[in-house]
Symmetry: C3
Subunit: 325 residues, 3 copies
Amino acid sequence: MEVITEPTVNGTAARGHGLAGQDILSVSQFGPDSLSAVFELADEMRAVVRQKGGTDLLARRVLAALFYEPSTRTSASFIAAMQRLGGTVIPITQGVQFSSVSKGESLPDTIRTLEQYADVVVLRHPEVGSARVAAAAASVPVINAGDGPGEHPTQALLDLYTLQDELGTLDGLHIAMVGDLRFGRTVHSLTRLLRPYDVKLTFVSPEILRLPLDIMNEVRDAGLDVRETYNVAEIIGEVDVLYVTRVQKERFTDLEQYEELKGFYTITPELMAGARERMVVLHPLPRVGEISPAVDADPRAAYFRQVQNGMFVRMALLAAVLGKA
Amino acid sequence: MEVITEPTVNGTAARGHGLAGQDILSVSQFGPDSLSAVFELADEMRAVVRQKGGTDLLARRVLAALFYEPSTRTSASFIAAMQRLGGTVIPITQGVQFSSVSKGESLPDTIRTLEQYADVVVLRHPEVGSARVAAAAASVPVINAGDGPGEHPTQALLDLYTLQDELGTLDGLHIAMVGDLRFGRTVHSLTRLLRPYDVKLTFVSPEILRLPLDIMNEVRDAGLDVRETYNVAEIIGEVDVLYVTRVQKERFTDLEQYEELKGFYTITPELMAGARERMVVLHPLPRVGEISPAVDADPRAAYFRQVQNGMFVRMALLAAVLGKA
Amino acid sequence: MEVITEPTVNGTAARGHGLAGQDILSVSQFGPDSLSAVFELADEMRAVVRQKGGTDLLARRVLAALFYEPSTRTSASFIAAMQRLGGTVIPITQGVQFSSVSKGESLPDTIRTLEQYADVVVLRHPEVGSARVAAAAASVPVINAGDGPGEHPTQALLDLYTLQDELGTLDGLHIAMVGDLRFGRTVHSLTRLLRPYDVKLTFVSPEILRLPLDIMNEVRDAGLDVRETYNVAEIIGEVDVLYVTRVQKERFTDLEQYEELKGFYTITPELMAGARERMVVLHPLPRVGEISPAVDADPRAAYFRQVQNGMFVRMALLAAVLGKA
């Protein structure tokens, strides 16, 4: 498909129909109206899965899931989404060498081959911009499932959907992003997606993992109320949302500093005792210690519900780009 | 699901309904009545596959097949079983690294993620006890497809089903277990499953591969008639069943001893000439020489029928745990 | 199935029914009448995919796709074909070790296991003759998806189908085979398949990559008009078909010679300027430079349509061997 860099979906596009035939490459394609349309569709998907397990909306439609790097969670989510819509999947998820690729085939050729078999392509690729290259080559919709340090738009959409689903609205929320805000792709995308909303953002990270200046400026320019701090404990009592990400040891040259700091970014039952009664903890997963398993039983722990929302949002997007919304 | 260590299925649970929502972790969950229910269901599955190729019983149901170690046979069997029931499969069978796992995710987190997408999880894992860990984390049924040297209950069930199917009954059978009885997981599970039945068991193995004492005591305590011997030829004429397993060269420190002994445990047409007219040879497969291919054409060679029974038994279990029996 | 080495399909076998229960091992099974039947079926498959995305012809039928070496293109084509027929696939395409195989299981045993689960087996294997070994062991149809340097019959069938589809007929065509004619398996198979037709063949290759003598003699003996040349430019204006294959650097001991020659076998817009208005360029893909991407927009560039034809031909073959044509 043609590369779309500006919002192409608007409020008049009832029920996500404005996405028919479109690629999903970047969160920058979406504004509040188009997001509402997608989320409404995701609500419907949830209802039909809960009631009947799925639908036949995409019967006889084929998805090519092309994963140049392994991602169990994302590929499983897209596969389940397509199957629960009644469609089928060609899984190309070996995580190892691809025969054609090892013979030196270009990404556009691989895409132009797969679109002969499939109605839609989901692509995970380690290089920034690869999803745009693929979309430019393809005549079927391409969905970016992560292009290295670039974008992972369906993750950002499911994050936002979860916020709205859990708290009923986005307006007026106080959202804290916690952990590695420098390299965290999901934090960057979600932050950008939040710009048009009336939200307050607090960024909680070690000094060396602070949010990059360009994104910080974008949210300030959008007129949002923004703060930064080093310690979750300071803000836990004020926020509606803790969006937690992993602080990787590898980011620190000074391990002593890491050991000293890591407790500031670990969510425990003790910390949760100071949180509001009505708030949620999210995490893009996988986690490795930054949320204690003892928190899982807390009704405010929403990260596994967030995982399932990913399936509903991907069902909505697949149905929409295939014109079956 | 909650970990079930005691039999939970009983004769009053008509048509396998007692398994609805349950995990399948161990042969110790099953007694004669619950086995009868499963086998009756497996008979029905065989009939519907023979007549129509399959059913739509599990339409819109999704199975996550999570294989931490490769097992072509077992994963193919579960995939075919789910597909012939009208359901779909998320195959996570790379046999290589799992992305989430390589990022250090715990097994409970992986399971709690997959259950957001799938209605049932089949798990193959190299560590003993992993299936119980997974089941404790999951709110959907977990089926143990082998946890290292631990259990592989669906294999034992299909073995027993094949005995009954081939010979019409279990009562009164004389069953010889042949080969590596020390390390053979399938022998241990089948032996335990046979305890409540009126069977005679003969264990045929090299000295260093004899059945472990604890299992031997269990079957003796159950009141079964038990014998041990070194040589298949001695008992071939008396048995209703030869359950053959591989004697691995690697188990022997003295290779001369291995060369001397291996002929005692190799099934050939010459050996079969001394067997009863109505008896069967089983093998969990793969085989590597312990049954001569020249035996395959013998109608008593039941090991490939046994493979297909595996699909029918797994269809029965999937339907049962999903409440569709 | 029994190994079939002579044509078994004939003109009286209307609508491909003569293939029911047969293996697809070699192009030598096919003559003009049976090819017509398969191509007519492929036309129908194309129509149903264009109109409805697919059919339910093979509902409840299961394909085991056993790939001992990775081949993204071929496996994706077969998977899509089976899914668009309403059937399902057990993908065994890890490209890495197979558990049973690594335990030393023979190919016949692997096949006899998979046929317990599946209604048809597609096999890709690095060794010549492996497809025949598999077919001899199997009681279900086996389709050869490439046995090393041996055959890859479905590729040759889709090549021929594309010629007829693009140009309306095979009779009277002047076909140039370009590139590595010595090792190119697809060239050999297509050439053999063309013997019964009234075509003129020109073979264009470097000296060291000329068509092997035995195949050259076969086409001469069949009475075809055959020529050889070194340079595409010389014949581009006369041909109806350019069938291009890759000239691999690795084939040359003298790299200077390679650099000197490679331009003779690279298809560019400049070269295409000298071609007829009605002609087609085919390539089995993947390509690595031997056709300039600038040629892709040329309506005579048929190689991606050729890819899709592969799916239609494989749909036709799967339906035919399963008796559902």
